[in-house]
Structures are given as structure tokens and as C-alpha cells.
Symmetry: C2
Subunit: 233 residues, 2 copies
Amino acid sequence: MNGETFRNWQSVQDEVLRRIHAREWKPGDLIPNEADLAVEFGCARSTVNRALRSLADSGLLDRRRKAGTRVAAQPVAKATLDIAVIRHEVEARGSRYGYQLIDRQQVTPPVSVSGAMRTPATDKLLHVCALHLADDAPYAIEDRWINTNIVPQAKTEAFANVSANEWLLKHAPYTHGEIAFSAVQVGQDDADILGVSAQSAAFAIDRLTWDNDASVTKVRLLFIPGYQLRTSL
Amino acid sequence: MNGETFRNWQSVQDEVLRRIHAREWKPGDLIPNEADLAVEFGCARSTVNRALRSLADSGLLDRRRKAGTRVAAQPVAKATLDIAVIRHEVEARGSRYGYQLIDRQQVTPPVSVSGAMRTPATDKLLHVCALHLADDAPYAIEDRWINTNIVPQAKTEAFANVSANEWLLKHAPYTHGEIAFSAVQVGQDDADILGVSAQSAAFAIDRLTWDNDASVTKVRLLFIPGYQLRTSL
DNA sequence: AATGCTTTTATGTACGTACATAAAAATATG
DNA sequence: CATATTTTTATGTACGTACATAAAAGCATT
């Protein structure tokens, strides 16, 4: 081709993407090494590295030292979901946010909870149930367990006006967590709260967060039927 | 403190993370600028930049030119989901994968489909329905529309042995896509295929992929009740 | 006080060199 | 011929300098 130069990493990335989409480099193909591409593109190797690393991060390229870089045979679609505070999510939809505390008690949890949170079975945990509303209509039920050994300040927080969802972000740091998405049939209790018929299909997000080896909180968010979690690829 | 040095970007990242978790830098706080941190950590600014950029990518820091870097007040949890080929997903669970074609027809789609795919309402599209199995038990229903104007080779592919899910990855490039997760009540037809009772709650993934301005394919994957999509934070 | 222009500053990025590291390939050794 | 050992090579990253760029802050003009 011509002597066109690609002088920034985004344009290098775009050109690599173009070649992949145009099938000049097919899935599984080994592509030229960084040094050669740098010469071809008229830029530094570090610029090519930045572009290729970014594409590898998003799953389009597979890179291995010495073995080189190849176009991913099965481009694993990496969908990045932004799990925001529910209030923000509701407000971002242009709805008025509402919050209602249903229950707040320091109780001994079922073993399924103490087991998952790896707390002694006899320890009491703070159980908080609340309803999030959008334009005064039920939006999601938050059913949460808080490890008050790790977050003692929660013992004095009523959660009457601020949801635990939001309060914890400000007051409880965490190092990592697990999250699971599933579909569940709502039971009679939850159906009544959400104002839907029992057996409806609700979207559930289960989340367990840790501060190093100690569990911080375990929560199930149960969204009204029709809820969709979306993102782009 | 002491004159400890952090000579690679991961250790700088770890130290920044430690300070955030230890609440030395609280949510909303402005942290020192890159140049100062570089001096403190005994490394180059570019190393600090790499570490902070990475943390910003994962949503823990907010960075703006001139305004500086601050700890995210509401750390948006970015959950990265790997949407793999179903066969791989099943095999990764240690199950034997099975595949069964249910239907394959070139037909005029409902307007909801042609509308979403932005194809002329009178154009015929290829409709492929199939069942994915794990250890001979139903696992997911794939209900797919393929734009044969963009992927003409699909017209001669039977999809009897290879799922469209897998075939398209190899044969149809795409530039971007949209994906939505939801919970749905399964209808009688789907319930029969999945071998579950009607009204069960099933996890659905709806995906629409594009090659520049042209839609490539639209698919709904309906998973058996109990299915969970998991990831870590 | 409101408006537009200028300066300052922190992040964003390009570059080239140097070295580290993993892993494939080649070679030596039993 | 199988198994260690060495060499080669492509990616991974650190560094320091230079410049680009966005946006806040200061200044001037009305």
C-alpha cells in the first residue's frame, strides 16, 4: 500500500481492527510481530504494544511471549457491565427514585448465609431488607446481610433514609467480590412487595463482597419482571 | 515512612489499592499527582501513570486532566462477563456437549425482528432454532435470525452439526453489538423443549451484532431454570 | 458582574533504549 | 532416542524526555 503512518495507538488499533474485520488477518492467524508492525506503521514499538495490548484485553487477540500474537479463534465476547448504585440507575432512566426500609434486624443467619460468608454459625449478622422504587413503583428488593464484625458502624445506622446499597459503598471498603446473575420465580412474599403475581420471573443479582479474607456483605437484588441489564460489546 | 521503592506498575497499583482500602485516601479524595507519586514511589511517572490508568479503567479512580485524580466516590463495579461459545461453556463445566437442530428456514421475519435488525420488512432472513445440551439434558435454546445479505454463506450451511452460535464466530465478522440479560417466563413451546414446566423462570441473553451499519445476527439464548452467569469483581 | 483571553497545570501519550521474562527452538548429553 | 541444557526470540515493562491536550484558574476588558 502507501506509506501512510499511524502515529497514535488508537489509529494503530483501528487499523488492526480493520484488518481483522476485513479478514486480512483471520481468526487463528499469527500476525506480524510488534517490531515489524512498528516499522510498517511508522511508529514506535511501544505504540504498537499499547494498541495490541488493548485489543488483547478486550479479547480480540491472543498474545504469548515468544509465540507471538494471533487473532483470537473464538473471540470471547467480554461484556462489561456497570453495576451502579440503584439510585443512580433509576435516576439515569429519568425516573424519580424512592426508598423504603422493610426490615432491619441483628439475627443469626441461616447456615447457607453464614457458610457463604464464612462467619461462625452462631454469630449474629445484620439483616436489612428494603425496597427500591422508581416513580413510586416497586423496582427492586434488596435482601442483605452485613458482617458487623467488619463494618461495626452499620450497627448504629438505621438505613431508614439511605439504602445499605449506597451506605456501604461509602463506609465499607472491599478488595474483591463475586457476582452472579440468574432468573428466579418470585415467591408469594416477594411478589406481594413487588406488586406482581407469584411465580413471575424476576432477574436476580447475587453479590458477595470481601475485604481480604473477611466477608463484608451478601446481597440479593430482585428486580421487577421486565428488568433488563444491558451493555454493548 | 521508609524509603521503600515500588519499581513496577503492579506494585504501585497494589500500594494505591492498599491506601484506598485502608482509607488513607477516602472516596472522593483527591490523590497526589503523578509526578509527586513518582518521586514518592521512586519510579518514573510513566509507571505511576500505567498503574493509575489501570485503576481508572476498572472504575476505582476518576481522572481528569488538570483536575487531577480522585478516589471514585461511587466505585461503579465493572463486572466483566465472558460470553463464550456455548459448547465451550458446557465443556468447561465438565459436561458432555450435545447439539440438536430444531428448525432452519428462510422466512420473512416479524417486524420486531426486521425493525431491530434494520432490514427491509419484506426481506427474508434465515431463522435457525436449536437446542444445546449438557450431558444429554437440555441446556439452552438458541433462537436466531441471520442476515443472509451480510452472511450469504449461511444460506448453504445446514447447521445440522455445528451450531450457528459457533459457526458465525468463524464466518461472520462483526464490529460491535448490543447485549441484554433478563428473566423471562418460558412459554409452553419452550418449556416442552427444555423439559420444564411452563411459567418457569429462565435466564435470557439477547444479542444483536453489527458489522458497521449492517446487522449480522440477532439471537435469544434461553437457558434452563437454575442457570447462573457468574463473574468476580 | 459578566464575558472573553491567557496562563498554568495535571493527565495523556509518543518515542527510543534498555533490560526482563516466558517459551519455543535448537543443541548437547546421557 | 529421550532428556537436559542453551540459545533465540517475541512480548512485557521501566525509564526519561518531550510534547499534546483538556480544563481549571487567573486576568483583563467591557
